[in-house]
Amino acid sequence: MGTVTIEIDGVSLEAETGSMIIEIADDAGMHIPRFCYHKKLSVAANCRMCLVDVSNSPKAVPACATPVADGMKVLTNSTKARIAQKSVMEFLLINHPLDCPICDQGGECELQDVALGFGNDVSRFTEGKRVVQDKNIGPLIETDMTRCIHCTRCVRFGTEVVGMREMGATGRGEHMEIGTYIEKSIESEVSGNIIDLCPVGALTAKPSRYKARAWEMQSTAGVSPHDCLGTNIEIHHRRGEVIRVVPRENEKINEVWISDRDRFSYQSVTDSERLTQPKIKKDGQWQTCDWETALTHVCDQLNNIKQSEGVENIGALISPSATLEEMYLTQKLMRGLGSHNIDHRLRQVDFSSQFEAPMFPGMEFDIDALEDMDATLLIDADLRREQPLLALRLRKSTRHGRVMSVHSGEVENNFKVSPNVSVPASDLLAQLQGIVAALIEQHKEVSAELTELFVDIKPTPDQQTIASELRINDNACLLVGQSALEHSKSSHIRWLAKTISDLSGCAFGELTAGANTAGGYIAGALPHRLSAAEESNICGWNTQQMLQKGLSAYLLMNTEPELDSSYRDAARVSLLKSKFVVMMTPFAKGEFLDYADVLLPIAGFTETSGTFINVCGEWQSFTAAVKAKGEARPAWKVLRVLGNLLELDGFDYVSSQEINAAVKERFESTTDARVGHFQRPDSLESGGEKPRPLSMYDMDSLTRRSLCLQMSVQGQDNWRRDQIEHLVASQSLPETESPDSLINLSASSAESETASLQESSDA
């Protein structure tokens, strides 16, 4: 595409042919008012707010729908443009209520802002205004449809970005209304984005409605703790309370979107019952105590068990969404004690190839490259459930490219998939073997060993198609889904996937659990490797062994294995049977009340600093937005103090950045990072099974405790209905603690080590 030169308000600008005036103005930082235009949506040109004066055009033209032409002269501020803009504004305000003080959007409303610049100070319209009934579209989004200006951004978002048309324009003329099909709740897992898109107060966030004004809130950059993408968020808070979460634009990762769980899971840390003081179980009764007592008790018990049962009977399980710093210190603590029973791979079932695993599993190409793919193979990936924003990215590629899928169980995609092969978990291996066999057939130079291995396999037409698409297209990739790792033969699946990638030349990617699986690998939160993939000479127990064989003592770092792991039943039994369980958690309620012996209150995800490493190996650090509730402290501080109380070496970090730097140094000095050497097996495997997949809002302790997510359509699909009932019951109770006592930080302790926990949460 060539470029042309245009002039906007006297400034000469280079513009790509085919682009619209408004894009060029935006790039140059020149403001043209608009409502319906959005850079991520198609051009609708229905609001007419962006009218500008273009040379040779008798009438003002919409800047969002007028392509640039060489020598074009645009005036955004001439009399002609001004008159047009003012008239449009007047029309828009005819039916819009003028009651900004009672509107939740007030202060961050595009209409309000533009009206200030282009509106009249008095309204000439004296007739009655139109009133539109509000619609109930679910627990996440509040509607105030009288305020709608029919820009159709929300409608286009559904059609174009999500691929699920849920909002629409019904009626006609003055009776036109925006809504869903007759009071239907929105089902999409990324629906919250229409809150940001809506330029007025027609669609606002239900959970944070009327909680704070835009100008009262402070904003802290954060990273979403839910999936392996490392979605960028802004945490909005006021006087130490998180009010809401909104997207932070990052074109390479999440563009301008976030998923509903990124947006609304904060409710778990603000609204569910929080653990605000350490607790020790005495004679079956929970008693609150101070940090010193709790931590001394933990040390004594761990030392006792080490003495009496041996250190190999102690183990730690870590949430895959724990920060890098938390992971690193937890494994350091365990290894300091002498135990290598450490794991964060809670949903993994097959550990047979763990020594062949790369430095960390992940994608070998960038997230944004996905939209350019001409062919993509999804292997047991349920993107909408597991990485919703990746589904949006991949959907873009279907405009020109092809997505193919081989999966077990039911997967609903919001884009066209063909072939779309759905098989029982036990047939997954055979499917992939068929694709490899097809590639061997189509390929010239394949090693004799490999050919030999697949000699009996006859590929189906679908497998042939998949193979040739991946091979023929230069821009091709495959993604092994998060739940493929839960398969009992996941090692073989990975090897097959890698082989498909090698033979076809397509890029390889593995999607991982939680927000920080990569961090877990790099931090050494593994039984067989130290940090930065240094081989350990002792191999400890993995999740499966720890939970199925049972240990005498567990340290649970922000995880509830009876729900988070693939070993739910075994976890319950082992945890109940064990002698001593230390639970580090932000929450006051859970099954852990039955099996734990000490509860250590840690900061929630908005209250701690830390680092997540995403699936592409991007390190993203964040700071605490607010202070932790009550006496809860960032987990890395608790671990540091615990390390010192246990008289272990190397627990002198004064900030999470120091820990980060320590890990990073080790990471950067390691050379063959990322190279996984999956060994060719001697024979092909078959069969295998997978635990029932978790529903979207049952995946981690945050979403499980967010009432609005559980009440949403996707949450209602949750097959663990018990937790919703539990949430409804607990959140409708009157608050037991006053807000002041929640942010009381004045508790004191004589012990200098525990005293350091009393500092306000770190910046």
Binding site: M167, A169, G171, G173, I182
Partner: protein
């Protein structure tokens, strides 16, 4: 999306009606799913005492494999679709610009008082419904109304009376 049974429509309307929908569907390329919506709704409405229930609209959407909202948009846009039960005779009176300037307000008033109902209502004997509609492309004969698919133009209260008489309105 909770997609429902695409076959449901076939249990709700006659085989002949389905055939007619298929006839319309065959006129458009197979990957264009939305064009036959209007025709399908017309067929279904004719089979259902001249109105479309929520269930009917959903069934049409599932049958044509389009989102529910897409059918709902069409059904609410065109005034010839009735979304609640209507009387035997539907009187659609235009109140759009030309008709309004030529006195449609008076016509509406007269109709309302003669029938004893408001716009959007149906007489208690189920004989007449009154509906306000947008421009019917008969501006040249404004003010106008449509009754049982026949246009009546250049209306006066007297003319309205005679139309009502012809349709059998007594009161």
């Amino acid at each position: 999306m909770s997609s429902e049974d695409p076959k449901r429509l076939t249990t709700m309307i006659s085989a002949k009606a389905i055939e007619e929908i298929e006839h319309w569907r065959s006129k458009y390329p197979a990957d264009r799913k939305r064009p036959p919506i209007i025709a399908a709704l017309k067929v279904v409405q004719a089979e259902n005492e001249n109105w479309l229930s929520e269930e009917h609209m959903k069934a049409v959407a599932d049958y044509l494999d389009v989102p529910h909202i897409a059918v709902f948009e069409v059904a609410t846009f065109y005034t010839m679709f009735h979304l609640k039960p209507v009387g035997k005779n539907v009187i659609s009176v235009c109140t759009n610009l030309s008709c309004m300037m030529c006195g449609s307000d008076k016509i509406v008033e007269h109709l309302q008082s003669r029938l004893g109902i408001k716009l959007g209502e149906t007489t208690s004997d189920g004989q007449f419904s009154l509906k306000e509609v947008e421009c019917m492309a008969a501006c040249g004969g404004a003010p106008m109304l449509e009754a049982s698919e026949i246009y009546h133009e250049n209306l006066t209260p007297e003319k309205v009376d005679s139309i009502l008489n012809d349709l059998g309105w007594e009161a």
